[in-house]
Structure formats: structure tokens, C-alpha cells
Symmetry: C2
Subunit: 376 residues, 2 copies
């Protein structure tokens, strides 16, 4: 499926303002995708996601394969029908990341990866063909080719073998997609922190006819400098007229830095995971709302935030919900955190338009990291 | 506060169609109150409660006293502001039930009850004056007098002493209410399964100037027959022009039977507690949606139900959420279960109007208990 992606404007610093099309409408980039791991963005309804500014969501092939099984989702008419998400596209990942991070791989071969399910220990085999078959049944709008996401760090030799195989897997993934007319497909660039391997991976993957290109393996990087290099080494060799998707990255500063390096789409569990632990994203950094200083605080999480949570509930109440282990607290913070990131993307798009994204970055950074600096 | 309660119609079987007023509007009885134990009806937003037909909610004095503390709620401007519930009245209980059921009473005296907090074991004293003081600070629309809710069964002698003391506590509770102009107050009839003590309790409590009368201690009864007697022994002696509230009862059959015995208001954690365990209320009885037979079931919980859940989600999806331990599943069932009970109350009101409630009871019962009979 042609996403009809176009770059509307490229700023002086290399950031791209763009848009693409799906049957759900026109979508502006740079954009952030909340993650619905198990066919639900934790605690939230589809209407709440829409109201929080989410224009697209991601769901995990690995998790849905294991539970409820892709046949159950197909039986419902695909993921949109299954979870009643009818307001925007869904992107599914390939399962590679979870297989390597969650399921403890037993054995990687040319064929695929043999591993044990993290749920019941059952022996399973995930191959490029199987990953695409599952994603075809899930019926997401954008699917990912199967890749290996090696841990960090590995040796150059290990990574070289891995990216070469991932390129071969990309070809097999592309050939396996029986629904290319309705499901766009992205390739994934790996290569860790090695400039030559990122370059190789980007160039070889770009030779294949994908609708977009993902940059993987960055979220496992340990420091910001390394992460940024991993992105730069990849984007330098990717076609300018296709979507670039940085996988698993959602920290506000990383989003801005990613955009400056030419990234168009991001996904991360960060907003919902932080919420689960009572942490709210604010322009003054992360705030743990369980803190006793909020017990009688009648302000919202952020005074000028337009989200449902900030318009209706105080920190005093949210703190009470968290301390009482009431999941409505997690829900309220999830709404705010997702809105925080979708609003950040709106601001980023505005500053690409104005061509002052670097200045915005400095302003944002100074305020966002201030509390952290003060604590040092 | 005068609730301006009036009985609009009394059916041949003794059921009452009524209405009362608060600053939130006119409220039709018989009605059911969902329970927001800790200032939140578990997993639900105020808007969802309204949409599910809830016209009033209950919150627990004991829980809010312990956490976050009545001063925190008062600081927010009362419970309506604290939890942003602005669409209907809130009734608070007196704390008696929780003190006796949850906190293990240490020592009951004329003064009140000494007990240990179930949260941190701290020694606490709850008296009629303290219960009313807390409820005054919570700012609910209807408050309850402090009572003892004895376990079932106890001896006649124990119960006699208990109800006599509860009458004395009712007088002290009434004298302690400093906000009678804005907070209506109900007395509570106890007496267990003893006809003479229920009669004594009802007559003596009715002598006091309450805005309504609760029937307590029924939910601890072990069988339906005993429960019904407990209600009859009380309602026979209660004034006809005041609201009658049956505490802690929410089983559909018990609601119908309660209405037939002249009850106007009910509360129960049943709809949200059942949801927590994956159980949905349907006209065909309780259904556990975790059951494997629902794995590919694309029907809603009930085909002709008008709730958000049934209009948007399948049993297949809800089962997946439950099995995956996603709280959105609990939320969806809670919405349905609350709507099931508010709809049942609507039906009951309609059948009082038509004066065929006994026929409705038989029809409802036959279908509702059918599955249970079949399993025997």
C-alpha cells in the first residue's frame, strides 16, 4: 500500500515536516505512536486515545501471536475490529524485539529464531515468513519486516553476521507479504553502534522496495551520544522520500533529537509505563505523583495542559488514587503522558514550520532537565 | 436537608415508585447506587458512571477517613470536587460496617468502637460524633448515622443490647450533624433476624427526625428467606413518607424482592466486584467471560444492551483482556454490570407503573436462574 508520504518542508537542521495517507485519513509527521502491547493501550479506551491526540498506535505481533493468537484477531476481522480502534492506523512490529528481549532466544539460524514462550515455556519458531503471515492476519495498516535486534554491546563480528542475515530476512519478509495492497511494509536498519554496519544495513535495506524504513536497536543503546550516532549512521543513507521510523524511543529529549536527525515516526511504551509507576511527564521533567508533597495540591498535573486529566482532576486526587492502588490513577496519568508527547510533536511540527527547532530544543531542554540538574 | 421525597405510586404488591430532590436534580426511585469505596468507582470515570445510568453513588467513610483523610477531601471542597463527580448526589455510609467487617473491633463501648486500622494496625476510635464529623467534612449529600452491624448469627441477648445502643448512637449522630441544612441524614435499623428487635429498632429509629431510614445487616444474612424477613420486619414499622434504603444488597433477585417489600434505594459493590473477576451480569444469569467458549465469540455481552461496552466490544475481545490481565477488561465489564442494574431499576419502575411487578419478577427469575438450575 502506497502511503503517499511527502516531505512538506525540511528545516535547516534536517528535521522534516511531512504527511502520509491511510484509509483512516491524512497523518502529519513527525508523530508519536502510543503502544497497545496486547491490543489495548493499557487502561485506555479508543476514544481516550483519540482525545489525547494519538493519530496512530502500535501493537505487538509477538504478544498477539501468543495471546489471543492471530486467528482470533483475524476471526474478528482484524485488529481494528478486534479492539474497536477505528480512528487511525495501526502499525505492528515484527516480533523480533520481544523474541530477543523477552523470550530468551534458544537458537538463531538462517531459517529464523527458535525460542521458548515467556508465558508457558512452549518451544516456538519465528521466521520472516511466519512474522509476515501473523501480521497479515492481524490486518494492521503498516507491518514490519522480521529482523534480529542484538543486545548492546556485541562484537563487530557478531553484528556483521547479524545485519547481513537481517538483510536476507528483509528480502524474505517482503516476498512473504501477501497483502501489500492493503498493508504497507517497512524494512529495519540495524548495525548497533558500528558506523560501517549501520551504513551497510541502511544501503542494502534501502535497495529493497519498502514503503518506509525503521531504525532499530537504538533503544538498547546506553547513552544519548551513542544513540544519536546510531540514528545518524542510518538516516544518512536512507531515501529522503520515504518515512523513517525510530523504534522504541519516547523520551522527550530523544524525540526532539531524533526529529533533528530526520526521523518521522516514533513509538514507545514510556507514557503508559511511567503512568503505571505514578510518574507524569511535564515540561519541568518527570514528576512522581505519589510524593507526599502533593497530598493537598489542588492544581492539575500541568496548569495549561488541555488533556482530560488536567482539565478535570487535581494532583491531590491522583495521588490518593495511586496510594490506594486504584487503576483510575494510572489511567488518568496515561492520558496526560500521551497527550504530553502528542503535544510535543505538535510543537515540534510548528517549530519545523518556523525553522527554529534548535532554539525550541534548547528552551525545552533547559526547563525539562532543570530539576534533574538541581538534584545533583 | 429536606429531600422532598414523595411516593408517586404504590403498587398492589407494596412496591413504591418515588422521587426525591437534591441540588443535583430530581432522582427517581427505586434506584441502585454503585459504590466508590475509595472515592472512585473502580476503573470508571464520572462520565462513564453517568452514561451507565448511575444517578447517585455511595462512598465509604471508613476508607476515606483512613486514606486520604477527611481533611484532604475537605481541602478539595468536599467529595464531589475531590473526585470530580458533578452529575449526581453522593451518599456516605457511617463506617460502622467496615469497622466491624474489615478492621476487627477491639472493644465496643457506649462511647464507640476501638479498633485497629486494617491498613497499618494503628489504634483508632470511631464514635457517632466522629463518624458525623468525618461525613460533614466529606460533604456528601446524604449521610448515615453511626450503627453497630453485628455479625450473623448472634444471640438474641447480644442483638438486644446492640440495637438499644444503636438507637442511642442514632440520637447522638443526629445531634452531631452540624450541616443538616445541606446534608440529609438517615438512621439505620438493625436487629438481625429477630422480629421483635427489628420492630423495636424500626419504631425507635423512626421516632427520630431522619430524612430517611436504612435497613442494615441484611447483606450478612445467609439465605434469601432470612434476608427477606429481616427487610419485612423493618419496613412494616417505617414511615411511608420517607426514603427506605437497603444497605449492601445488589443481587438482581434481591433488588426485585427488596422493592416488593417497599425499599427505595440500594447499594452494592457487586457490579464492580464481579467485573474484577471477569463476571458479567446478564438476564441469563452470571457469565464468566474468561471461559474458553468465548474465545471467538463476536457477540457483545448482551445483544440488546445499550451500554458503551455492548455497543462497541465483543466477548472475544473482553475475554482476551481478562486473560491478559488488562484492566480495560475490568472497566468494560464494570460499565456493563452497572448498566445492567440501573436498567433493571428502570424496568422495575416501569412495572410498578403498570402494576405488574410480580409478573415481571417471575419472568425475570425464570430466565435469570435457568442456567443455575441446569447446572444442578
Amino acid at each position: 500500500m502506497d502511503l503517499k508520504f511527502k516531505v512538506i518542508k525540511e528545516s535547516s537542521c534536517g528535521a522534516r515536516l511531512g504527511e502520509f495517507e491511510t484509509k483512516w485519513g491524512h497523518h502529519k509527521t513527525p508523530m508519536f505512536m502510543p503502544v497497545g502491547t496486547q491490543a489495548t493501550v493499557k487502561t485506555l479506551s479508543p476514544e481516550e486515545l483519540k482525545a489525547a491526540g494519538a493519530d496512530i498506535i502500535l501493537s505487538n505481533t509477538y504478544h498477539l501471536w501468543l495471546r489471543p493468537g492471530e486467528d482470533v484477531v483475524e476471526n474478528a476481522g482484524g485488529l481494528h475490529n478486534f479492539m474497536n480502534y477505528k480512528t487511525g492506523p495501526i502499525l505492528t512490529d515484527c516480533g523480533g524485539f520481544q523474541v530477543f528481549s523477552l523470550a530468551k532466544p534458544k537458537d538463531i539460524s538462517e531459517e529464523g529464531v527458535k525460542f521458548k514462550s515467556h508465558l508457558d515455556g512452549k518451544n516456538l519458531l519465528l521466521t520472516p515468513e511466519k512474522s509476515i503471515e501473523i501480521q497479515n492476519k492481524l490486518g494492521s495498516d503498516i507491518i514490519m519486516s522480521f529482523d534480529e535486534c542484538p543486545p548492546y554491546p556485541v562484537t563487530h563480528e557478531y553484528m556483521k553476521n547479524s545485519v547481513e542475515r537481517t538483510v536476507r530476512w528483509a528480502k524474505r519478509s517482503l516476498a512473504a507479504n501477501k497483502k501489500r495492497d492493503t498493508q504497507a511494509q517497512f524494512g529495519i536498519v540495524q548495525g548497533g553502534e558500528f558506523a560501517d554496519l549501520r551504513k551497510f544495513s541502511a544501503i542494502e535495506t534501502a535497495k529493497l522496495d519498502f514503503d518506509g524504513y525503521s531504525v532499530g536497536g537504538v533503544s538498547v543503546g546506553e547513552d544519548s551520544e551513542t544513540k544519536l550516532k546510531m540514528i545518524e549512521y542510518a538516516t544518512a543513507y536512507l531515501p529522503k522520500d520515504k518515512i523513517r521510523y525510530l523504534m522504541g524511543v519516547g523520551e522527550p529529549m530523544d524525540l526532539i533529537d531524533g526529529v533533528i536527525r530526520g526521523i518521522d515516526i516514533f513509538d514507545c511504551v514510556l507514557p503508559t509505563r511511567l503512568a503505571r509507576h505514578g510518574n507524569a511527564l511535564t515540561r519541568d521533567g518527570r514528576t512522581n505523583l505519589k510524593n507526599a508533597r502533593f497530598i493537598k495540591d489542588l492544581d492539575p498535573i500541568e496548569k495549561d495542559c488541555d488533556c482530560y486529566t488536567c482539565k478535570n482532576f487535581t494532583k491531590s486526587y491522583i495521588r490518593h488514587l495511586l496510594v490506594s492502588e486504584e487503576s483510575f490513577g494510572q489511567r488518568l496519568i496515561s492520558i496526560h503522558n500521551i497527550r504530553f508527547l502528542t503535544k510535543l510533536m505538535e510543537d515540534i511540527r510548528e517549530h519545523i514550520e518556523k525553522d527554529d527547532l534548535l532554539e525550541f530544543r534548547e528552551e525545552f531542554k533547559e526547563r525539562y532537565l532543570k530539576n534533574r540538574e538541581m538534584k545533583k
